[in-house]
């Protein structure tokens, strides 16, 4: 408790530094790094300045009346004034109607651009799961950080293997829910090389806020070499253990299974191979090749006592070769 209070106090003391840091950045909206981000920012500017105008107007009127007509003595009566005025009331009902039509149109026109991908897009498959991302490129390469070429329209075809997730990159101004059992699509064209944060924005449970990834926008000519390098694990001269470790790091295993002996959402992989587990509902199982294979392909079949049945299936997402590599990696972690 004391250390919590101390840390809170320390945070409070550091606030002036925070003000200075925040003041040096733009206040509203992050940088815009996609072809349509500028249009969306224009729509934002329209509604922003309109809101500032009406907010200032209404606040000034309220505060002015509050002082101008303040009741000085308890028996002070109101000054004579009408209690209705049809032309004025019609005016202030109809004029806002014109304003909101403009706002609707601004929002809709930009939305249509976002919702309609151009003809020749570069397609990347996105698989979202609790709590990691998997990106599959046209040549079969798989990563858990997204890499895209600059100045190229990218189309993401997204699906989820468990619950709702959402794809959001603030700098690109794009967002779309990822729904299990159907595909959702999204496109963007990045205009500046660099690294950006991808965040899950549909609540998905315990590690929702850790379901982050980097989006790397490559300079012209930088994407293809990267993709070639990334593509083939089995022709790089790597051992099966090394391939298994690579899969462990990229396919989402590490989100829940540590290799340092600390149990997370799932049991740690350190020293797991060969031991005997107690299972939910009684009985035990020895962690051998077949058990590991079953746990990957049918994770709900046997649940280790003390854990929740939350793991998604990897059926169709890992090849037999991949599973063998993972087993080799697990064996290398000892028992």
């Amino acid at each position: 408790m004391i250390d919590v209070l101390a840390s809170i106090l320390q945070r409070v003391i550091s606030i002036p530094a925070g003000i200075a840091a925040a003041a040096s950045e733009r206040v509203w909206l992050p940088r815009s790094v996609s072809t349509f981000a500028g249009d969306i920012d224009f729509a934002w500017d329209v509604v922003f300045w309109l809101s500032v105008f009406f907010f200032v107007l209404i606040t000034l009127i309220t505060v002015y009346f509050m002082f101008r007509y303040k009741r000085r003595t308890p028996d002070q009566e109101a000054l004579p004034a009408p209690d209705h005025h049809l032309p004025i009331e019609i005016a202030w009902s109809v004029l806002p109607l014109g304003i909101v039509v403009v706002l609707f149109w601004q929002g809709f026109a930009q939305y249509v651009n976002m919702a309609t991908p151009p003809q020749d897009t570069y397609e990347i498959q996105v698989s979202a799961m609790k709590w990691s991302w998997l990106f599959t490129y046209p040549n079969g390469a798989v990563t858990n950080e997204l890499h895209v070429p600059i100045d190229t329209p990218i189309e993401l075809v997204m699906t989820s293997s468990d619950v709702l997730h959402a794809f959001f990159v603030p700098e690109f101004r794009v967002k779309k829910d990822i729904v299990p059992g159907r595909y959702s699509n999204l496109w963007f064209e990045a205009t500046e090389a660099g690294d950006y944060d991808l965040m899950c924005t549909e609540y998905c449970g315990k590690d929702h806020s850790a379901m982050l990834a980097k989006v790397t926008v490559h300079e012209p000519g930088g994407f293809e070499p990267w993709l070639k390098e990334e593509s083939d694990y089995y022709n790089k001269g790597w051992s099966m253990e090394e391939i298994g470790e690579k899969l462990y790091n990229t396919r989402g295993c590490k989100t829940c299974h540590s290799v340092d002996g600390v149990n997370g959402t799932g049991p740690t992989f350190l020293g797991l191979y060969g031991i005997e587990h107690a299972l939910v509902g009684g009985g035990t199982a020895v962690v051998d090749e077949n058990y590991v294979r079953e746990s990957i392909l049918e994770p709900q079949a046997t649940i280790v006592a003390g854990y929740d049945p939350v793991m998604p299936t990897y059926q169709g997402r890992l090849s037999e070769q991949d599973i063998s590599a993972l087993i080799a990696y697990l064996k290398s972690l000892g028992n």
């Binding site: 840390s7 601004q106 549909e202």
Partner: protein, 562 residues
């Protein structure tokens, strides 16, 4: 024979029209059962008030937990599971146990029959049943807490809610029961408004708060059953594995969102309409001036209730629903902004040339105008499709709905509570502490939530236990604002509690209102009125004048005949 000036057992100076120590609804009968089984709308209103304020305290503590956790990135108080349960608890309690029943069932129950000059609501037993259903619902919420809590968020989105291992079924059952509590209140208010108006009170002589409560009641009765059905389907899916919403069972996850928002969007108006009604009363009474544009305000409440039913899809612009649906819902959404704007202009016109009192209820009402303006204007951002796609599920949305629900409804609730407090209890509160509470809450609230607009526009997603370091400063400011707000609530609680202990005795009409509740004593007798009160224009304050000796308003004709 006793005169009004007689001093009784320790009571301070008793103005005429005050019935403390004499016969009133509070001492008409005694004992636990005389409250638990009462059919008196005033007692049921008070029981509701105490109950929802208890819920508010619970929801508020959960909010402080959430804000404290977020004062720094990483873990501050507990782990991610704790955090997820805390924000779920905060949302569920505030929405279902506090804000939906808040104004109608607590304040509305107390004042609606008084506004009508009636003895009670049309169905007193249904009213009592509504209260006890609320208690049942609250018990289920506690059960769900005791059996491990819930981590789905108050929206119970599938398939997370069909697959999480936490206690979803108890809390969903609780919300199901609370829905019936809400329907009962709504039904009662509809019939009461239709049937119990006095002879000379036409629809357009009703105080505007009644138009608001009436419109609210219509939504409660029409929309809540849809929530009930949806929650039953969710329970069926969880308990029996019937595939409705979970794609793993062959269901459709987005279907749940349609069902849920078909209720929960109109429910937003269940929450805000009664608040707007209270503001219409406060602005007129504390300006001592006839409300401006009565007819427009009255119809705007009905318009909001109707439009509220056809905009639910704007919660789902990124859900993958078709572009055509998105376009239609975006266009319809803007329709709601017009009646809301009409109300604001009419309130400002009412202030013009008024005699504006700075008493506590009015300070809350003026806060409401400014905060609701911000809440409404930021709604325009979210109605614009392309901008909403960017802002959806960020802190911008969190800030927007807190400006409407808290800056709007909670502020109006507090204004109404201070306004009707003398009528309920027969005691005045101290204006000093009352005004201080209004100021602290105004400052604390803006500090907490205005910065969240910036945070959201920078891309910070909502429902995040942890966040990127670049968001830290904004979260710190927000958390400090939350503590100041909490302090404001403590001052408000202190002000009201002290008034019960040593508040001045309230006259019948401390504010100079002319709606019928000010025509009876403070507190009112069991049957509300001696004889049948005569209703006239509720916003014509010409018959009342300030009297220093009673520290309140008295009728001019009463003095003439005395």
């Amino acid at each position: 024979m006793s005169t009004p000036e007689t001093k009784r057992g320790g009571l301070p100076h008793q103005p005429p029209g005050n019935t403390l120590g004499k016969e009133n609804y509070l001492n008409a009968s005694r004992g636990f059962l005389s409250w638990a089984l009462t059919l008196d709308h005033k007692r049921i209103g008070l029981m509701y008030l105490v109950s929802i304020l208890t819920a508010f305290l619970g929801g508020g503590l959960a909010a402080l937990y959430v804000r404290t956790e977020l004062i720094a990135p990483g873990q501050t108080l507990g782990d991610a599971d704790m955090y997820n349960q805390a924000f779920t608890l905060h949302g569920a309690i505030m929405v279902f146990l506090f804000i939906i029943p808040g104004i109608p069932a607590a304040l509305g129950n107390f004042v609606l029959p008084l506004l009508l000059g009636a003895k009670d609501v049309a169905f007193p037993r249904l009213n009592l049943a509504s209260y006890w259903l609320w208690v049942c619902g609250a018990i289920f919420a506690v059960i769900s807490l005791a059996t491990g809590g819930v981590d789905t968020g108050w929206t119970f989105y599938t398939p997370y809610s069909s697959s999480t291992t936490t206690s979803v079924i108890p809390i969903v059952t609780g919300v199901f029961i609370l829905g019936f509590s809400s329907i009962f209140t709504g039904l009662n208010f509809i019939v009461t408004t239709h049937k119990l108006r006095p002879k000379n009170m036409g629809w357009f002589n009703m105080p505007l708060v009644m138009w608001a409560l009436y419109s609210t009641a219509i939504i409660q009765v029409l929309a809540t059953p849809v929530l009930a059905i949806t929650l039953l389907l969710l329970i069926a899916e969880r308990a029996m594995g019937i595939g409705i919403f979970d794609p793993a069972l062959g269901g459709d996850a987005v279907l749940f969102q349609h069902f849920f928002w078909f209720y929960s969007h109109p429910a937003v108006y269940i929450m805000i309409l009664p608040a707007m009604g209270i503001i219409s009363e406060l602005i007129a009474v504390f300006s001592r001036k006839h409300i401006f544009g009565y007819t427009f305000i009255a119809y705007s409440s009905v318009a909001i209730a109707i439009f509220g039913f056809i905009v639910w899809g704007h919660h789902m612009f990124t859900s993958g629903q078709s572009d055509l649906l998105n376009m239609i819902f975006a266009a319809l959404t803007f329709s709601v902004s017009i009646p809301s704007a009409i109300k604001i202009w009419n309130w400002l016109a009412t202030l013009y040339k008024g005699s504006i009192s700075w008493d506590t209820p009015m300070l809350y009402a003026l806060s409401f105008i400014i905060l609701f303006t911000i809440g409404g204007l930021t709604g325009l951002f979210l109605g614009m499709l392309a901008v909403d796609v960017f802002l959806h599920d960020t802190y911008f949305v969190v800030a927007h709905f807190h400006y409407v629900m808290f800056g709007g409804t909670v502020i109006a609730f507090l204004g109404g509570l201070f306004y009707w407090w003398p009528k309920m209890t027969g005691r005045m509160y101290s204006e000093t502490s009352g005004r201080l509470s209004a100021a602290l809450i105004f400052i604390g609230f803006n500090l907490t939530f205005f910065i969240q607009f910036i945070l959201g526009s920078q891309g910070m997603p909502r429902r995040y236990f942890d966040y990127l370091p670049r968001y830290e400063f904004y979260h710190q400011v927000s958390t400090i604002g939350a503590y100041i707000t909490a302090l404001g609530f403590m001052v408000a609680a202190y002000s009201l509690a002290m008034s019960l202990v040593r508040g001045k005795l309230a006259p019948a009409n401390p504010w100079g209102g002319n709606s019928l509740e000010w025509h009876t004593t403070s507190p009112p007798p069991l049957h509300n009125f001696e004889g049948e009160p005569r209703s006239d224009d509720p916003y014509d304050y010409g018959d009342w004048k300030w009297d220093d000796s009673v520290e309140g308003f008295v009728r001019k004709d009463a003095e003439a005949t005395a």
